[in-house]
Symmetry: C2
Subunit: 498 residues, 2 copies
C-alpha cells in the first residue's frame, strides 16, 4: 500500500519478563474494565509517561530502593521513539534516531544495557539542492553537513558564527537570564535573519534547517529559544554549537543504535519490570493532598508520595490538576506547543545511492523533504532512506491525499538520490502531529515572548509534582539524550525528598 | 482586608425561574454525586460553556425550536464577564465592561432584554504619564484617548496611521489570506515597532497599550494578529481602526451596562431557563458517533445531535475528544494561549478625581497599572476606579505579596488621580490567569507563526462539533460583542444541520 501510518497497536514488543522484587499490590494484570473500574496501586513514586524520560526516572527511583509505577497512554513504551518493522524484520526509525558526541547520558544508558551503536552511513557525498540547482559535496570540509555553496558561503559562515557567539551568553539553566534575553525573545528567528542576511538564496536555507531540527519555520521560533537550543547542544564541558545540531560527522547525527532506538526503551522497561508499567492508560487527573499525590488514569489509580510527569508540556497541561496549577505553569503549557514533524521513509532492496557515491544525506530548499539520511541497517540490507518533512512542509504534506504524498516524496527522493527512488519496496511515514499522545515532534517550541515570561516554570516542581521530558533538559533539549538527562534529574529531585 | 480575589462561589444570582417548554428529561435538580453518578440529558444541541457566546448560542437554538442543554464549569454564568458586589450593593466589573459603536450584536442583545447603557464618565481630562512626566489632556482632541504628547506626536500619528492602513488589507474572515500575511506573521509587533519608530519614549507607549488590550507585551504578539484585531474592531459597514479599540469617546469604551455587564448573562440564562444549564460541571470528554455526540461533564452526560463548544480555545483543547481532533485544530489549541490580564479596582465614598477635573481615564508607561477607567455606578456613588494590569505588569503583580500589591497599586492610583486614592473603602482585584475556567483574559492571543499555519481551524466545525467564543469572531474579536456574534454564528451553523 502506498502510505501506512503508525498503527495505534504496539509496533514494539511488550518487553521482557517482569523483574523481581515488585512492591505493587493489586495483581499483575490490568483490570479489564474501562473508567470507573480501575486497578488501585500504591507506590512511592508515580511516573506519568513511559518515554525515555519517564523510564529513566522510574529506573532511578527503583535503583534508589523505592517502589514506582508508570502510567502510559499508549500500548507501547518509548514515546517519541518508535520503530517500524520492515518486511525483512529489521526496524526503521519513525522517531528519535541518532546519538552523537557530548550526548553522554544516552551513551551511558546504551552502555549499561549493552546496546551497541554504529556510524551513520557517511561515505561519499552529501547532496544539496537550492532553487533548482543541485550539487554534491563532501561533509569532511569545514562546513560539515552544511553546504559549501559559493553563492552564500560568506553569509552562511557569518550567520552561523554570530548565532554560535550569541548563544554563548545564554545560560542553559536559565536562558531567560541572558543579558539580551528581552530583546532576543521579542523577535523571531525569521526577523533576525531578515535583518542579518543579504540574499534570498541564503534565506531559503534557513527553513530547510529549522524544519528538520524544530519541526517549525523560522517565523514560529523565538530567537532566544534558538540560541538556547544551540547552547544546549553540548554538555557541561563542551559548549553547544549550531553545527553540532546539524552535522552527521562529529555531530548529533553521528551514530545510530543497533536494532533501532526503540530497543533502549524496551530494555529500560524490561529492567523496570513490565508489571510496573500500566499501558493504554492515559492520566486524566492528578490530585495533590498534604501528604500524597493521586494519579487517576483510565486503567489504574496510583497513590504515591511524589509524581514525575514525563510527557510533553502541552499534554501535561491537559491533565486536570487538583488543586489547579499555578498561573505561570499553566501559562507555559498554554504556549509551549509541539513542533510539526512528519518523517517519511522508503525501503529498497539495496541502498542504491551508495553505488552512486552518495551517503544518503541531503539538504534541499525546494520540496517537502528538506533533509534525508541513510536509515539502512548496519549491513546495508535493505536500503532505507528517511526524510524530515517539518513545519510548513509537514503542513503541506498533510493537505495532500495518500497518492500525492507518495508520488511527491518519491519524486523528490529521485531528484536527490537517483531514479531508483521511484520504486521502493515500501513507502511509509509518521505524522507526529496526528499521534494522539505526542501531538507533534521533535520537541516543544518557544514562540517569541514565552521563554522570558514563563520559561522558568518548565521544571520548577509544583508541590509533589516534578517535571521530566526532553523539554525540561538543560542539555540536548529536544533529543533523546535530553530525555534521559531529564529523567535522571527529576528522579534525583524526588529521591532527595523521599 | 487588603486584597480579595474572586470567590469560587457564585458572585451572581442563579437567574430567574425556569422557562417553559423544557424538553430535558432527568429532573430539574442536578444529581448530587460526583463523577460516575451523572445526570443523563438528551437534547438536540449541547453547549459547552455559559459565557456570553454559549448563552447566545443556546438561546438561538431554543428560539429555533430545538432543545438545548448547557454545561458550565463554574458555579455562575458569564465566563469572562463577572461582577463584584460593592458594600453599597452596586456592582463593579471584574471582567468585560464596555460597549461602543459598531458593537451591534451586543447592543441588540441589550435592547432585547431591556438592559440600558450609560456613558462611561468622560467629563474632564485624561491623565498621561510617560517616564515620570505627567500631563493632563482632553480626549476631545484629534488623538482621542491617545495622548497628544508633543515629543512623540509625529511618531504616534505615523505608526497608528500605518497600522490602520495595513489592517485594511487583512480580511477579517481569513486574515491568513492577506497579501502580506506570511511576512507580517513572521514578526512580532515589537519587532515591527523597533523598525518603525524613532524614540524610546514612543516605544514605551506601545506596551502600555497592548497590555490592557491583549493582556500581552508587544514581543508576544504576531504583527498579523494585531492587524487583524484592528481590522476586526468594526462591523460589516465600518472598517476597524486602532483608535476605536483604544478610545472612550466614540470607541470601544464609550458606554457601560446598567447594573454591570453581568446582568446580560443573567438575563440570557433566565430566558433560557435555569434547568437547561448545569453548573459546576466542567466537560471532560466529547465523543462523536455517526449520528450523535456525547458530552461527558462532572455532573451530567448530554447526548445530542450537535455540540457547540463556547470556551477559550486553550480550554477547548484540554477536553478529551474521541475521536481525537484533527492535527490542525489540535495544533491551534496548543498555541492560542490566553492573555495575562489582572484587573485591579478601588472604591471610595466619592469619585474624588472628578472634583479635580479628571475623568478617571489614565494611561501610564511607568507602573503596573497602565490604564484606568472610572467604574463608578451611574450616579457616581460610590466612586470606583479600575485599572488594567496586563502582560508583564500582570506577571510582576503576581510576583508581589498581598500587601505590596495593594501598596503599589494604590500609590500608582494616587500619582495618577490624587492622594485620596491611598485610602479606599475597598481594594480588590481579579487575576484572570488564576481563574481555573478562563486561565487568562481578555482573549486568546496569536504568537508569530500561528495565524498563517493553523488560524483557519479557529471555527471550522469538526464533525458534529461547532466552535464559538469571542476568539472565533470576525468582528470585535476579544470583546463581549464578538462573543455574542460567535454564538449567533455557531447557532446558525447548527440550525442549518438540524
Amino acid at each position: 500500500m502506498s502510505g501506512r501510518r503508525l498503527s495505534r497497536r504496539a509496533v514494539i514488543g511488550a518487553g521482557a519478563a517482569a523483574g523481581a522484587g515488585l512492591a505493587l499490590p493489586g495483581g499483575s494484570a490490568a483490570a479489564p474494565g474501562g473508567r470507573g473500574r480501575r486497578r488501585r496501586i500504591e507506590a512511592d513514586v508515580v511516573v506519568v509517561g513511559a518515554g525515555f524520560a519517564g523510564l529513566t526516572a522510574a529506573l532511578a527511583v527503583k535503583r534508589g530502593g523505592h517502589s514506582v509505577a508508570v502510567l502510559e497512554a499508549r500500548s507501547r513504551v518509548g514515546g517519541r521513539v518508535a520503530g517500524h518493522r520492515l518486511p525483512s524484520g529489521e526496524f526503521s526509525e519513525r522517531g528519535g534516531t541518532f546519538v552523537g558526541p557530548t550526548q553522554d547520558r544516552i551513551l551511558a544508558a546504551l552502555d549499561r544495557f549493552g546496546i551497541g551503536t554504529f556510524p551513520t552511513y557517511d561515505e561519499g557525498s552529501n547532496v544539496y539542492v537550492n532553487g533548482g540547482q543541485r550539487m554534491e559535496f563532501s561533509d569532511t570540509g569545514f562546513t560539515g553537513s552544511a553546504p559549501p555553496d559559493p553563492l552564500i558561503l560568506p553569509e552562511l559562515i557569518t550567520v552561523v558564527t554570530r548565532l554560535d557567539q550569541m548563544s554563548t551568553s545564554v545560560p542553559v539553566g536559565a536562558p531567560w537570564k541572558a543579558a539580551n534575553a528581552g530583546e532576543w525573545d521579542a523577535e523571531t528567528l525569521a526577523g533576525w535573519i531578515a535583518a542579518n542576511s543579504a540574499t534570498e538564496r541564503f534565506r531559503r536555507l534557513v527553513p530547510a534547517a529549522t524544519r528538520p531540527i524544530f519541526g517549525a519555520d523560522p517565523g514560529e521560533l523565538s530567537l532566544l529559544y534558538v540560541l538556547f537550543y544551540i547552547a544546549a547542544s553540548g554538555n557541561e564541558s563542551n559548549p553547544g554549537s549550531f553545527e553540532r545540531n546539524f552535522n552527521t560527522r562529529g555531530g548529533a547525527q553521528e551514530r545510530r543504535i543497533e536494532g533501532g532506538s526503540q530497543v533502549l526503551g524496551q530494555a529500560m522497561a524490561a529492567a523496570l519490570g513490565k508489571r510496573r508499567i500500566v499501558k493504554r492508560s492515559p492520566v486524566r487527573r492528578i490530585v495533590q493532598r498534604r501528604d500524597r499525590v493521586r494519579a487517576v488514569s483510565d486503567r489504574a489509580v496510583v497513590v504515591a508520595k511524589r509524581a514525575i510527569v514525563a510527557i510533553p508540556p502541552v499534554l501535561a497541561g491537559r491533565i486536570d490538576y487538583q488543586p489547579a496549577m499555578p498561573a505561570a505553569r499553566d501559562a507555559l503549557t498554554q504556549r509551549l506547543a509541539q513542533g510539526a514533524l512528519t518523517k517519511v521513509a522508503a525501503s529498497y532492496p539495496n541502498p542504491f545511492w551508495r553505488a552512486r557515491g552518495l551517503n544518503g544525506s541531503t539538504l534541499s530548499t525546494d520540496g517537502l523533504v528538506n533533509a534525508t539520511f541513510d536509515d539502512s541497517p548496519e549491513d546495508g540490507r535493505p536500503g532505507v532512506v528517511f526524510g524530515f518533512v517539518g513545519g510548513d512542509s509537514s503542513r503541506r504534506f498533510a493537505a495532500l491525499g495518500p497518492a500525492a504524498r507518495r508520488r511527491t516524496v518519491l519524486a523528490e527522493l529521485a531528484e536527490l538520490l537517483g531514479p531508483e527512488a521511484m520504486h521502493p519496496t515500501e513507502f511509509f511515514y509518521t505524522q507526529w502531529p496526528e499521534q494522539r499522545w505526542s501531538r507533534g515532534a521533535p520537541v516543544g517550541i518557544y514562540p517569541p515572548g514565552l521563554m522570558t515570561t514563563y520559561g522558568h516554570a518548565i521544571r520548577e516542581p509544583v508541590g509533589r509534582i516534578h517535571w521530566a521530558g526532553t523539554e525540561t533538559s538543560t542539555y540536548w533539549n529536544g533529543y533523546m539524550d535530553g530525555a534521559i538527562r531529564s529523567g535522571e534529574r527529576a528522579a534525583a529531585e524526588v529521591l532527595e525528598e523521599l
